[in-house]
């Protein structure tokens, strides 16, 4: 039970009664998103490369409250136990800091993100350019504010470009959530918890190729088409932002 106000104020104990998460009435036509964005508006992106000196390449991304840092090592020698391969290998790992989520240690629920990141990136890297060696991608989520995996994928692709790994194109990723009849792009954590379904696309805009598409939950065919259009458009725009971030870094290092 909740602590009564009349109890002695010298000690504080948190309320043990869970506050019921009330789903806001999304059918209400006046429902706005908690941060005031339009349904089809993404969060402003802050991207920087060269965040980690020890790594061959690195990038830091901040999309609203989601903060991610990715470092890339390589190409370096594969472990002795690995079999010979005439193309390069990609090794991805995503980990959450203990303070990334509001409840400590909750980020370890996302063990499958590492293999999803691998699938998204392996189609974009020219593996034949570094035979017999391995490229390691380590992503650390500093704060999880929703839409974590798309932010990690975009940031990882920037880090790979920063490391000088040959790629077919930059990979931009965006996810869309379905809440009732509404489609909202780039959901925050709160919106993700109410969603009926989610769709994430990782896209190479210059080549017009999708490297990965992930759909969960309840979708109608019509909604899927709409959501895909939204995602592809947002990915193209995100790519121009990523590209200008790389060019800025290139100019800055030349001066």
């Amino acid at each position: 039970m909740a602590t009564k106000a009349s109890a002695s104020p010298s000690t504080y104990s948190p309320s043990t009664r869970r506050r019921k998460q009330e789903r806001p009435n999304i059918k209400d036509p006046d429902w706005v998103r908690s941060d005031g964005r339009g349904f089809h508006q993404c969060r402003p992106a802050f991207l920087r490369t060269g965040a980690v000196n020890a790594a061959a390449g690195s990038a830091y991304a901040e999309f609203g409250n989601t903060k991610v840092i990715v470092s890339v090592f390589g190409p370096r020698e594969s472990k002795k136990a690995m079999m010979y391969s005439d193309i390069g290998r990609l090794n991805c790992n995503i980990s959450y800091t203990t303070f990334a989520t509001s409840i400590r240690g909750q980020g370890s629920d996302h063990k499958e993100y590492s293999s999803m990141l691998h699938k998204a990136l392996e189609g974009a890297i020219i593996l034949e350019s570094f035979p017999k060696t391995t490229v390691d991608v380590f992503a650390l989520v500093l704060e999880s504010g929703g839409s974590d995996l798309p932010v990690v994928i975009s940031c990882a692709s920037l880090a790979l470009a920063d490391a000088g790994i040959m790629m077919y194109d930059l990979v931009a990723a965006v996810s869309v959530s379905c809440l009732g009849t509404n489609l909202i792009i780039d959901p925050v954590l709160e919106e993700e918890s109410y969603q009926d379904g989610s769709l994430m696309i990782t896209f190479m805009p210059s080549r017009n190729e999708v490297t990965q598409m992930t759909i969960t939950g309840e979708w109608s065919t019509q909604k899927i088409h709409e959501a895909m259009e939204l995602c592809l458009d947002a990915c193209s725009k995100l790519r121009t932002i990523m590209s200008s971030c790389l060019k800025e870094a290139a100019f800055a290092s030349n001066e």
């Binding site: 020698e77 010979y84 000088g164 040959m166 194109d169 290139a250």
Partner: protein
């Protein structure tokens, strides 16, 4: 298509031109579906004119990286390595530099008995060619197996460039098979590289 200026910074995936007009050099690739040349690295675009006697007279477009791409040993390049282990028929080395650039993390290489020199290859004694701790200039023969690159010192300018004697001093080369210690005068046998003067 937007006309690109010389020296403009490009990012991976940007279109550099048509495959019919340009050839893809380092840092660029051609997509067979669209017949366009795309960049695969971040850097400045530069156009090189083709060799006058080649069949293909298209200019070559290259991307010169603003950030040096980490080097990886490739067949044909010259490497500097330190000897780690000498065995009866092979010497195991750590590759430290590839061409003129040092690597961030070492690669493992192996020099086999038949690759130490060009003449009398079956009479080679590994212990009179290399010792542990020697710095060797070698060329990469091939990618080798899962564990090591195959290296060769079978040329005059390849072999030991720097070695310490038993007394601990850096030795002076006196012939292609011998080095002498300046402190004790002792002569030790190595496969010595002929340094260009």
């Amino acid at each position: 298509m937007r006309q690109m200026e010389e020296g403009e910074v490009v990012t991976p995936g940007e279109v550099l031109g048509k495959a019919s007009e340009l050839r893809a050099g380092k840092g660029a690739y051609v997509s067979p579906e669209t017949n366009l040349v795309y960049a695969s690295l971040t850097g400045r675009r530069s156009i090189l004119s083709p060799a006058p006697d080649s069949n293909d007279q298209r200019p070559i477009v290259e991307i010169t990286g603003h950030k040096a791409h980490s080097v990886v040993p490739e067949p044909g390049c010259t490497v500097i390595a330190r000897v780690k282990k000498v065995m009866a028929k092979t010497a195991s080395v750590d590759i430290m530099c590839v061409d003129a650039k040092s690597v961030r993390e070492k690669f493992t290489g192996i020099i086999r008995q038949q690759d130490v020199r060009a003449t009398e290859i079956d009479k080679v004694d590994m212990h009179t060619s290399f010792r542990v701790g020697d710095i060797v200039r070698a060329s990469v023969l091939s990618l080798g197996d899962a564990r090591a690159y195959y290296l060769s010192t079978a040329k005059n300018e390849l072999g030991v460039v720097s070695a310490r004697s038993a007394a601990g001093a850096i030795m002076i080369p006196i012939s292609w098979t011998e080095m002498q210690c300046p402190l004790t005068g002792q002569i030790e046998k190595r496969k010595v590289a002929k340094v260009q003067t």
